[in-house]
């Protein structure tokens, strides 16, 4: 869109964040950097040490002392003791009961934070511990919920599953995630005259903080002003959680009459405030042979913590995203909102969406592994139909039509640019030979619904002033937490007035300027506030057009704003000149703007409607490497293609995509929240809670935006980009799954049988108690290699030894071996496992034919119809004919000699390549190995003599040399036509017994006994 205008910072230009120069110089002001007003006090909050307890007594008399100005408990709150965003249940201070370890019990304001902390710790609080519910399963048993279970359904899920060819059931546990914004929660409240309160708050939701301060102080909203200049990160963690901090500061400021600052240190922040919801998922899915979902039932158990907070909307969004990008058909999704005695979990980038997406991506992966298919194939056939198709396969399980699905095109492009197919092959090849390190690769899509699912929140306001000098100040309801919202909105305003962006300034968000705002959340910041700012700009622009048309006496449509100038008929003024003129002529240069998102409706009782204005899409391929000994991993490469519509600022949008991806990866890898058995969080600082560092990002990281405008009328046809990319991190998780869970045993077994290499298939039959791998896990063992794993350790070591024993003694049939995983195997899991060992020992002789030249082709023609397995090898893929006879397998390889590795003793080898050097290398390798029944080399006696000299020099002894046949073919046929040679050679091979079955083992055909 650079061609649209020549102004600086136009819509579509990749300008830096408007605070970038302040960030890098340390000059950007965060709440803790604001000069403290005279007499500012510091607050400290005393927290509950128990997950669940009755408060028997609170004695604060010991708290007072030098420098201590106020101690507050629930009893001292003038208004209502509740800072919950929607449903009641989040007290400022606990009253009779504490509901989680870390809950605020009382707070102290003192002259320094050290004095306040010591004073608070002198409070005598007596507790009587009560039984605590610490996981969703106990909550289900107790019927403890923060909201009623809710179901979304379409079609008949039971019937769909019943008629499906395959049915899988499974469960999935996913942990929570701490926001770990670098700036912890903070607020500074200053009392105003006449009972008013001003508060600087690090919040995504200043209007709610304003309202809740009014509520706890029992004053009107108009008496409270909340300002937010910027946050040092939010990610949803300052949507509802900032209120508690701001309200405590305001309560103490109100009580002392002095400014009060409350800044949580990192530990208190992580202990006291909510996180992403941990989920337990169970599912049942029915699907066809091709992997098409025919029926699905999913139960989501959301660990909501001790109160509702935003959990109901979050659980809903998880349900809305259990389809991710796929048509589910007959579906039933239910979410249980479990109440537990941990901190109340809250909004976090994705707002339940990631849990839904991870659920269905795991299910698809399980289906693909069950069918032995590439998961991408299964993903693709289940996608919603493409935009415009409007078939039945466009309806979601909440009865909304997906009208804008661009994933078909995006996946096709990403598969190509990310080189998916050949990299899958490379990964498989790597895993065949690498015993300890294994690679995985996965491509996962994202479809994310854009809009608050509560309709009323989808509104926004802005306030725009043009000053006499032509400079503009714009305020809107959105807050800046690093996402570049202010930059994008300023670009919109600059674009509307066609002026350089440095003439447009956005300062702090203030409830005094724009009222009744929604949280800056749900990725909606630019969509809502950009439109509101545009509306304000267009109102003033309209006045300026009216004025100038009248002033110069031209028609309205001959007034045009362009590149810093305003053309009014034949007259041209600078924007600044026009503004000055308009002021003199008493034109109002200030306006509000308002926007509400169209098209939304939702029938909660019927669980159907259009909760989203549109969808944003994305896709990622990640390739990882995993150490099967230790579980260490490394992301080798990630390719992302993301849909930001027509991007207002590609640099900022790419920043959101990369940051979201890395944060999503962190959730699914190194970030682990760990509560002890008493429900006390033990990971509450970066020393114990590990977010990704710079070294954890993909070694090769390729990110691109998909250049297609939003089909809906959003601000400059852009799309929301805050949350969707987080779910691209799922690609990393799914690729890790491949490295350890989806070892491709079927192709490996087929390949080994094909090559006549004896092997044993090991299958975990039953696994009781705690075992390293689940039933059904398979691995394959040959005399010198292993493929896959049944869990490592001594169990696997012993099973491999048993398998090799079976290979030695080829008369033995399949057998089952039982293992108790105890001290005897030094295995720590403590369960029991039985393993089935099935030998696959080929009975036929086979021919390894090197060379697809004229003679080679004729040999294949002559022998092609016979029951002889021919493995036909050449470096030149184009030399092979398109159609091959049965029993012939063409192998194009750059390393033909590798084909000689591990061949069984009965193999016939024919060497007739296009190169003497290659002929020589193959002959030498075969002779060195010695495990063949026949070795023939095309050529004359002269060639033989030359080769023999070189072979001797290379250490091949006479006895070995005597096993080489050269020239080849039965005697008496002297013609040199390739077919004549081929017939002579075939006759020789047949006379030596190539087609005779020499061994009869326990399997006639490799696959007859496969399950």
């Amino acid at each position: 869109m650079a061609d649209r205008t020549t102004i600086k910072g136009s819509v579509g230009s990749a300008i830096p964040h408007d605070s970038a120069a302040l960030h890098v110089s340390g000059e950007a002001i965060y709440t803790d950097d604001i000069r403290e007003p005279r007499g500012c006090l510091h607050a400290y909050v005393l927290k509950s040490p128990h997950a669940h307890a009755r408060i028997k007594r609170i004695d604060i008399s010991g708290c007072y002392g030098d420098g201590v100005h106020a101690v507050m408990t629930a009893a001292d709150i003038p208004g209502i003791n509740d800072v919950a965003p929607v449903f009641d249940g989040d007290p400022v201070f606990a009253e009779s009961e504490v509901m989680y370890a870390g809950q605020s019990v009382l707070a102290v304001a003192a002259e320094t934070i050290e004095i306040a902390r010591k004073a608070a710790q002198r409070a005598a609080v007596e507790y009587e511990e009560l039984p605590a519910i610490l996981n969703v399963h106990d909550a289900m048993k107790a019927g403890a919920f923060v909201g009623a279970p809710y179901t979304m359904a379409i079609g008949d899920s039971k019937a769909g599953i019943a008629k499906a060819a395959h049915v899988l059931e499974g469960t999935l546990e996913m942990g929570g995630q701490d926001h770990f914004y670098l700036e912890g929660q903070i607020a500074m409240a200053t009392p105003q005259e006449n009972g008013g309160m001003h508060c600087w708050s690090s919040t995504q939701h200043p209007s709610e903080v304003q309202h809740l301060i009014a509520k706890v102080l029992a004053i009107s909203d108009h008496a409270v002003t909340v300002d937010v200049r910027r946050m040092g990160g939010g990610f949803g963690g300052k949507e509802s959680q900032a209120s508690l901090i701001a309200c405590i500061a305001a309560l103490l400021a109100n009580k002392t009459g002095r400014p009060v600052k409350l800044r949580l240190d990192r530990d208190d922040d992580m202990i006291m405030t909510g996180k992403r919801h941990p989920f337990h998922v169970s599912y049942k899915v029915g699907f066809s042979d091709s992997g098409l979902i025919e029926g699905i039932e999913i139960d989501l158990l959301a660990d909501c913590g001790m109160s509702a907070d935003l959990s109901n909307a979050i659980a809903d969004r998880a349900m809305f995203h259990c389809d991710n990008a796929y048509y589910l058909g007959n579906a039933r999704i239910t979410a249980y909102r479990c109440k537990t005695n941990v901190v109340s979990h809250t909004a976090f980038r994705g707002f339940g969406g990631p849990q839904g997406v991870l659920t269905i991506e795991n299910i698809i992966d399980a289906m693909a592994r069950h069918l032995g298919k590439d998961p991408l194939e299964v993903r693709k056939i289940n996608l919603y139909d493409r935009a415009g198709a409007l078939s039945k396969r466009c309806t979601t399980h909440y009865h909304m039509t997906v009208e804008d699905n661009i994933l078909h095109d995006m996946l096709a492009e990403l598969e190509k640019t990310g080189d998916y197919a050949s990299r899958v092959r490379e990964v498989r090849k790597f895993n065949e030979t690498s015993t300890i390190l294994k690679k995985g690769i996965a491509l996962t899509p994202v479809k994310f619904g854009i809009s608050f699912t509560l309709k009323m929140l989808n509104q926004a306001g802005a306030l725009l002033h043009i000053y006499k000098d032509g400079s503009i100040q714009i305020n809107h309801g959105g807050t800046e937490m690093g996402q570049g919202l202010h930059t994008k909105v300023a670009q919109v305003v600059a674009e509307e007035f066609q002026i350089d962006i440095d003439r447009v300034k956005i300062t702090a968000t203030s409830t005094g300027k724009v009222p009744n705002t929604s949280a800056t959340a749900a990725s909606s910041g630019t969509d809502l506030n950009g439109k509101a700012a545009q509306a304000a700009a267009r109102i003033i622009k309209d006045r300026l057009i009216d004025f100038s048309a009248h002033h110069v006496q031209v028609e309205r449509d001959s007034v045009r704003f362009d590149s810093g100038k305003v053309h009014i008929g034949g007259t041209t003024l600078s924007f600044k000149e026009l503004v000055a003129l308009a002021y003199v002529n008493r034109v109002s240069l200030s306006s509000t703007g308002f926007y509400k998102t169209p098209k939304l409706h939702w029938d909660k009782d019927a669980a159907r409607g259009q909760p989203f204005f549109y969808f944003a899409y994305g896709a990622a391929i990640s390739e990882v490497i995993v150490d099967t000994l230790t579980g260490e991993y490394n992301i080798l490469r990630t390719d992302i293609l993301h849909d930001a519509g027509s991007s207002i600022n590609p640099a900022i949008d790419i920043g959101q995509v990369e940051g979201g991806f890395v944060q999503g990866t962190g959730w699914l890898t190194s970030e682990e929240l760990w509560w002890d058995q008493k429900g006390v969080l033990k990971t509450h600082a970066p020393s114990t809670y590990k977010i990704p560092t710079g070294r954890d990002i993909p070694k090769d990281f390729r990110v691109a935006l998909f250049p297609r405008e939003n089909h809906e009328d959003t601000i400059y046809r852009s799309k929301a980009v805050g949350e969707p990319p987080l779910m691209l991190g799922v690609s990393v998780f799914q690729s890790r799954v491949m490295t350890h869970a989806s070892h491709d045993w079927l192709p490996t077994l087929a390949d080994l049988c094909d090559r006549g290499i004896p092997c044993v298939l090991l299958t975990v039959m039953t696994a009781k108690g705690s075992t390293p791998r689940e039933a059904g896990t398979k691995m394959i063992v040959t005399a010198d290699a292993q493929f896959g794993t049944i869990g490592g350790g001594n169990l696997e070591f012993d099973a491999i030894a048993q398998a090799r024993d079976l290979l030695q003694n080829s008369a033995r049939a399949a057998e089952v071996k039982d293992y108790a995983l105890g001290p005897s195997l030094a295995q720590c899991c403590g369960g029991a496992v039985s393993v089935l060992l099935e030998p696959f020992i080929k009975s036929k002789k086979s021919l390894l034919l090197f060379g697809a030249g004229h003679v080679g082709k004729e040999v294949v023609k002559v022998l092609g119809g016979l029951p002889v397995d021919i493995r036909w090898i050449d470096e030149r893929v184009d030399e092979f004919p398109a159609a091959l006879p049965a029993h012939v397998k063409a192998v194009a390889t750059a390393a033909p000699a590798a084909e000689l590795r591990g061949i069984p003793a009965g193999t016939f080898i024919l060497i007739m390549t296009h190169s003497h050097d290659l002929d020589y290398d193959l002959t030498r390798a075969a002779l060195k190995d010695g495990s063949f029944e026949y070795l023939g080399l095309i050529g004359s006696q002269t060639k033989r003599a030359k080769f023999e000299r070189r072979l001797k020099a290379d250490g091949i002894d006479d006895q070995s040399l005597s096993r080489l046949t050269c020239p080849i073919g039965i005697g008496g046929i002297t013609g040199k036509h390739p077919r004549e040679i081929a017939i002579a050679v075939a006759a020789e091979l047949l006379s030596l017994g190539l087609t005779h079955h020499v061994e009869q083992k326990n399997h006639d055909s490799g696959f007859a006994t496969l399950p």
Binding site: H23, D267, P686, I691, T693, G793
Partner: protein
Amino acid sequence: MSDTIRFILNGTLREVSGLSPTMTVLQYLRTEESLTGTKEGCAEGDCGACTAIVGTLKDGAVTYQAVNCCILFLPVLDGKSLITVEHLKTLANGLHPVQQAMVDCHGSQCGFCTPGFVMSLAGMFHNNPSPSEREIQDALAGNLCRCTGYRPILDAARSVAHHGTVPFRPEQDSLRALKRDATFSYEAQGQKFFAPRTAADLARLLQEHPGATMLAGGTDVGLWVTKHHRALDTLIYTGATQDLHRIEETSEGLEIGAAVSHTDAYDRLAAYDESLAELLRRFASTQIRNSGTLGGNIANGSPIGDGMPPLIALRAKLVLRSAAGTRSLALEDYFIAYGKQDKKPGEFVEKIIVPPKAENLLFKTYKLSKRFDQDISAVCAAFALKMDGRKIVEARIAYGGMAATPKRASAAEAFLTGKEWSEETARGAMACLPRDYAPLTDMRASAEYRMTGAQNLLYRFYLETTAPQTQTRVYNYGG
């Protein structure tokens, strides 16, 4: 009579008195100087938002190193120079090249971590104008960013490496003027801080103040104050004690003074083995290694310090000193039980002696942690096998994270001794480990993971010493 703390702040002399000796440099900057560019993200030296540069006079020149101000006590700055993010624009007369590159590459989003990244990069470029990719990663391993996903920050670093930078101004003359010959004694708010210049003075001070807290790099003691809110009455700081800063090769081996920082000890220890080099490179972060000392890592007796397993396997000795004299003991004997060491009142760690690597020694050390960089080990392992051909003559195996102290695997060692180094032997030794250790489940790892991990690291050691072509390291994969 108390000395004043004298140091150079952003080019200007400061003389401080009256402030608590356990006030951190971060608190000082933000509250006393109103220099709020330096941020608090964690107050434990793990996020890097508080990174600033400390200049130290060493052999007539000034060494500039990035440190975490959040756990650095103010009196430690005595005689040093401190450069904060506010000073860079002055130095560069406009945005510093690192700052400009961060703007140009879109390296900031919320901006809160940004000053820390800028200072880590400015410190690195002062010392190393053309860093390698790995050196950039090492320099930033102690800085967390939650917004950007790091790619633009790494790009900014690469572009500075390409375009050049502005070094810090020479300050050796001003620092020489602050040099002290006698013990620095500071007292305020009822707390005392001593920084003796010689080991003899240190021993004497410790005798006079038997309850004093020994302070070296402060990367652990700092947290006693910022996290545990403990009151420390008397501190004796080893950082200015010249004798404890020596590193020398003697007939006994490599002798490392207790006050030598991890950064300064790195090159000499890294020479023992590539795996030890990697372990030390992963030891915390650049900022922590610049402050923290090997002596402190040992002296505080933590069961999870990464220094101990390899040093125990390599037969390191510890020299303890007091006013009464010195004594030495094997490193593993120092650790008696959790929180209990063989250190008598008045004793301090003077040096660590690492004997030369024996002939025919197979040695490797590994760490397992949730995250590659800046993470405390779930399991840290070190293996040393003295070989005679294929036969194991002597085995020394030590693990951290598996018991209440860093501990040798005596059952596994006994099993290995005298056997041929084969897969069967390795498997046998792995099977012995449950007799040697009963690890705990905690937030870093489950007991099961620790045991399996410990066993499998032994198997990795077997593979790497017998089948070096086998790929075993995900982090080095692909170079």
